[in-house]
Amino acid sequence: MGVHVFGIRHHGPGSARSLSLALAQLAPDCVLIEGPPDADPLIPLLGSEAMQPPIAILIHAKADPTKAMYFPLASFSPELHAARYALSRGVAVRFMDLPAANQLAEDDDKREKHERRLRRDPLSYIAEAAGYDDSERWWEHMVEERQDGRELFDAIRYAMVSLRRELAWDAKLDVREARREAYMRKVIRAAMKDGHEEIAVVCGAWHVPALIELPTQKADTQVLRGMPKTKVESTFIPWTHGRLAVESGYGAGVRSPGWYQHLFETNDDIVIAWMTKVARTLRDEGLDVSADHVIESVRLAEALASLRGRPLPGLDEMNEAVRTVMMFGDAFPLRLVRQRLIIGEALGGVPGETPMVPLMRDLAKQQKTLRMPAEATEKEYVLDLRKSMHLQRSVLLRRLDLLGVPWGVGGDRGEGLGTFKERWQVCWEPELAIRLIEAGAHGGTIEAASSALVKERAAKEEDVAELTNLARRVILADLPDAVGPTIDQLEARAAVAADLTHLMAAIPDLAQLVRYGDVRGTDTTVVAHVLDDLATRVCVGLKPACSGLGDDAADEMFTHIMNVHGAIGLLGKHRESWLDALYAVAKADTLPGLLRGRAVRLCFDAKKIDREEVGRRFSHALSTAGEPSRAAAFADGFLRGSGQILVYDESLWSILDEWLDGLTDDAFVPVLPLLRRTFSTFTGPERRQMSERADLVRERRVVEAPIDPTRGMAAMPLVRTMLGLEP
C-alpha cells in the first residue's frame, strides 16, 4: 500500500530485469514512468506487436519543428518494460516528467545550458568513489551480479539520498530540475487522488530522493507557476543503436547498446555467447577465428575478471581477451566488433498507425509537388534550371545531399548541356530512410535540417578548400540561413591559413559561383566579398609563397597559378593586382624557373610587358651563367601548353636556339627530359611548324656560310667540262 519508487538507470539492462521482477512481485495498480506526458496518448502503441525497439518518442513544437526532443527506448530500457507490464495487466500507466510542451517553450540558449550542466552523470560520483573510472561499468558490475529486485532498489535509494546530501544538491539552484521533480510529485499526487493504491514510480535513480517524501502541494504549485507553454506534436520513430550511443547529444545515452542488449537477452553463459558472436562477426569479415580461439578468449576474460576481483567479465575484459587471443594483439579489428556488436546496427520499426517523422513527411510532400516519386530503380533527370520546377528539384537533391541523404548523384553541369542544365542519377535506397531519420535530429524540415547541419559542419571545419566546397554546395542548395555562417567561417579560416595554396585552390570554385550563380538567381554578393578578400591575400602572398619550392611543389604551384589566372580572367576584377603579383614573380631571380617562366608568359599574354622585355627576361634566364636545369625549367614554365609563340616570334626562337646550341654535351643530357616534356605538351601542328622553322633556320645558315674560293675552284674543271667549255 502506497508509493513505491524504483530508481533505475535509463537503458540499463540490469535495471530492466530487476524492475520486471519487482513489478511482478508488487503487482501495482498504477505505473508512473519518467517520460514526457505529452506522449501519454501514444503509450498504448508500445504494446503493439509491430513496435520493434529501438524506437524513440519524438516531440516537437508544432510551430517550429526544429525544436524537438527525443525519448529513445531500447529493448532493454526499464521504462519500456514498465509500460508493457502495465499494458499487459490493464493497469493505469502514465508518463510523469515535465511536459515537453513546457520544456520546448523555453529559449534555446537556456535549454542548452541546462543540458550541459546535466551532462555529468551523478552516478559517476559513486563510481569514482568505488574506484571505477566509468559509471556504466560500475553500474554493470553492481547491478548485474544481483537478480533480487527489491533489495537492489533499496540500495539505490540509500545511495542516492546520501549522494544528494554529500553534493549538497539543492533543487532551487536548478530551476528546470526543480520543476521536473515538482511535476513528477504532482503526477504522483494526482494518481493517489484517483484512488490508486499501489503506485509504482519508475524514474532515474537520481530523482528517487525527491519523490519519496512529498512536500506540500502548495510549494510544488509555486515552483510550477508561470511556465511558458507551446503546442507540441508527438510520434514514434524508428531509432538505431548507433543513435542510442551518446553521439547525437542525447544526454542519457549509452555507449554500448549492443552489449546491453546482449546482457539483457542472454540469461546464462553471457561470456561464451558473446565470444561466439564476436567470432562469427570476425569470420564474416574473412578473419580466421577458430573455436579454440573462442574457448581461450572465454578463459582469458574470466581469468582477467578474477584477477581484477570482479564476479563476471565486463566489456573491458571481453575486448581485451578478444584482442589478445583472436587478434594477435592488434587493436584494429576491434573497431569492427565495436561497430557491429558493441554498438550494434539494430534499426527499430513502428506500427503503421504511428504518425510520421517530420522530415519524411516533408520529403513526401515535396516529392509529390515536384513529381519526383521515390523509386528503387535508377532514373536520370536532366534539369533545366531556368524552369522553376526543375530548379526546385535540383535544390531538393542538393539539400538532401548536404543532409547525408544522397538520393541523387551527379548534379554537375553535364557535357554539352550548357551552364543552365544539370544531370542527376536518382535512386531511392531503403537505407536513405534511416539517414533521413538520423538527419531528423537536426531539424523538422529538409530545409531547416540541412541548414542546421551545414552550420554545425562549417563551425567545425578548418580546411579552407573544404569550406569553399561547402559554401558552393550551400549556395547551390539555396540555404540562405547557412550561407552567412559558412562564408564567415571561410573568411575566418582564410585569414589564418598559413598555406597560400589552400587559398589559391579556393578561388576557382568561388569565381565560378559568382560568375554562373546568376543562372539560378542566387544572391552571390557575400561570396563576391570573400572572393575579393581571398584574391587580395593571394596577390599579396604570391611571391613569398613561390620561394623555396622544390620541383614537385613548384609544379603544384604552377597548376594553382593557372587556375587562379583563369578564375581572375572570368571575374574581370583584380586583374591589375594579380598581374602585378605575377610580374613580381617574373622579376625575382631566386624563384623557381618554372614559375618565373610562367609568370613572364602570363604577363606577356596579358600585355603587361612588351615583347622586348620578354626577350630580355628570356635571354637573361637562359644565359650561360645560369645553371642549365634552371634555364630549362624557365623555358618549361614559359612554353608549357603552347609553343605558338615560338613559331611567330623570331627573337625568342633564336634565344632558345642559341641557348640549346651553346649547351655542352654534359649539360644538354640532363635537361633533355625536361625539354622533351615541355615540347610534348604542344599540339601536333605546332610541333610540325616548329620543325619546319628549325629546318628553315638551318638552311639559311648554310647559305650564309662564307664562300671558300679554293674549294670552289677545285670543282671548276669538271664544271667546265660539263658545260662543254673545255674539250
Binding site: S290, R299, A303, R308, F328, G329
Partner: protein, 361 residues
C-alpha cells in the same frame, strides 16, 4: 656468494627480498607450481605497498591492464607473446614474470638466426652418444625441456629471429604439452606450472614472421612505447640509477633536466613532430627506443664520471645522442642536422646542447 662481481644479477636475486615479502603476505589462491598468486605477481611488477607496510618497487611503468592481461594469460595455461617495437621492456617484463611466478628467470632460449632445434627440444653429448648409444645420460636437455620437467616458465627471447622451421618445434610443446624423444622411445610431459613467455619485435630487419599455426597458440600482448613524457623520463631515470649502481659509476645522480632533454629529443624524432605539435620533423631510420635513451644517459654518466667533473653535461650526452639517431650515415645525418638547426637551436636553454652536438658532426 660473489654477488659483487656480477655485472647484472638475475631478477630473482636482485629482488629476492621483495619476492620473499610478497610470498609472506600472499594469502590468495596460487595456480599449481606458482610461487605467487596472480594478484601478488601483479603487485611485484607494478609496485605497491604490502599489508605489512613493505614497499615493492615498480618494475614496469605503463598500462596496468596490459600486465593484468599478461598474468591472466599465464594463469590460463596459454603461452604469452610479448610483441612490440624494440625497447618497450618486453624482455624486462618477461624476466620479471618468470622471476615472480617460477622464482627462476634462467630458463632462457635466446633467439638468433643460428638457434637450432636442440636449443628448444634437446641435444646430445656426442662423446657419450657414440660411447653408449642413445641414453638419458647422453641427452642434453634444453631450457624448455627443463622448464617442462620442473613446471616452470621458459623464456624465448626474440622469437622472430629464430628460423621458421625451428620456431615451429614449439607448436607440439605448446599444444600437446609434451616433448617426445623418439630416440629413447620416451617423452617429457610438462608438469603443471610450465608455460612459455616469448618476446618478439615487429620493427627490426631480418625477422622471420611467425607461422599462423604458432601464432594461434600464443596470446599476444602488444607493449606500446611510453604514453607520456613523464612516464618515459621516469623509466629512464630508474633504469639509469640501477645501472649506475651496478657499474659503480661514481658520478652524481643523473640530472633530471638532462634526462628530460634526451627523452624529449627521442620522442620528438620518433613521432615526427615537436612536442608542441607546431613543427613537423623527418623521422630517422632507427627506432629510438626508451632502451636507447637509457644507454645514452648511462654512457653520458660514465663519461662525466671518468673524464669530466662528475656532473653530466650536454657535452657528455651529445655523442651518445648523435650515435643513437644517426644509424644511416646519409639519411639520418640529414634528419639530425635539420633537427639541430630547426629545433635545438631555437630553444634558448638548449644552446649548450646545440653547440656540443654541432662539434660532433
Amino acid at each position: 656468494m660473489n654477488d659483487k662481481l656480477v655485472i647484472r644479477q638475475h631478477a630473482e636475486e636482485q629482488f629476492a627480498e621483495e619476492l620473499e615479502n610478497l610470498a609472506k603476505n600472499d594469502d590468495r589462491k596460487r595456480p599449481p607450481n606458482w610461487r605467487l598468486s596472480p594478484a601478488a605477481t601483479l603487485t611485484y611488477i607494478l609496485g605497491g605497498k604490502l599489508d605489512d607496510g613493505f614497499e615493492v618497487s615498480a618494475k614496469y611503468i605503463g598500462d596496468r591492464r596490459l600486465i593484468e592481461i599478461a598474468i591472466a594469460t599465464l594463469a590460463t595455461d596459454r603461452a604469452l607473446l610479448l610483441y612490440g617495437v624494440p625497447g618497450t621492456a618486453k624482455s624486462w617484463v618477461s624476466e620479471h614474470l618468470a622471476a615472480a611466478i617460477s622464482g627462476d628467470s634462467k630458463r632462457l632460449v635466446q633467439g638468433t638466426a643460428g638457434t637450432g632445434e636442440e636449443a628448444i627440444r634437446y641435444g646430445w653429448n656426442y662423446a657419450k652418444l657414440l660411447a653408449e648409444g642413445p641414453s638419458p645420460t647422453a641427452m642434453v636437455s634444453s631450457p624448455v625441456m627443463t622448464a617442462m620437467r620442473e613446471g616452470a616458465l621458459a623464456r624465448v627471447e626474440e622469437l622472430t629471429r629464430i628460423p621458421s622451421d625451428v620456431q615451429d618445434t614449439l607448436i607440439t610443446i605448446l599444444s600437446e604439452k609434451t616433448l617426445p624423444i623418439p630416440e629413447l622411445g620416451d617423452e617429457v610431459q610438462a608438469v603443471k606450472g610450465f608455460n612459455v613467455v616469448a618476446t618478439a619485435n615487429n620493427r627490426d630487419k631480418g625477422v622471420n614472421e611467425l607461422s599462423s599455426a604458432l601464432k594461434r597458440r600464443f596470446n599476444t600482448v602488444v607493449l606500446p612505447l611510453p604514453d607520456t613524457p613523464e612516464q618515459e623520463v621516469e623509466i629512464v631515470r630508474q633504469r639509469v640509477e640501477a645501472l649506475g649502481r651496478a657499474l659503480e659509476i661514481p658520478a652524481e645522480k643523473p640530472a633530471m633536466a638532462e634526462i628530460r632533454r634526451v627523452v624529449t629529443i627521442f620522442r620528438e624524432l620518433r613521432s615526427g613532430a615537436t612536442e608542441d605539435g607546431r613543427t613537423k620533423l623527418k623521422q630517422p631510420t632507427g627506432t629510438l627506443s626508451t632502451a636507447e635513451a637509457i644507454s645514452v644517459v648511462s654512457s653520458g654518466l660514465a663519461l662525466a664520471a671518468h673524464f669530466g667533473d662528475g656532473t653530466m653535461r650536454a657535452a657528455d650526452i651529445a655523442s651518445g645522442i648523435t650515435g643513437a639517431v644517426v644509424k644511416d650515415p646519409v639519411q639520418d645525418e640529414i634528419v639530425w642536422r635539420e633537427y639541430l638547426e630547426a629545433v635545438v637551436k631555437e630553444r634558448e636553454e638548449w644552446r649548450d646542447l646545440y653547440r656540443a652536438c654541432r662539434d660532433r658532426m
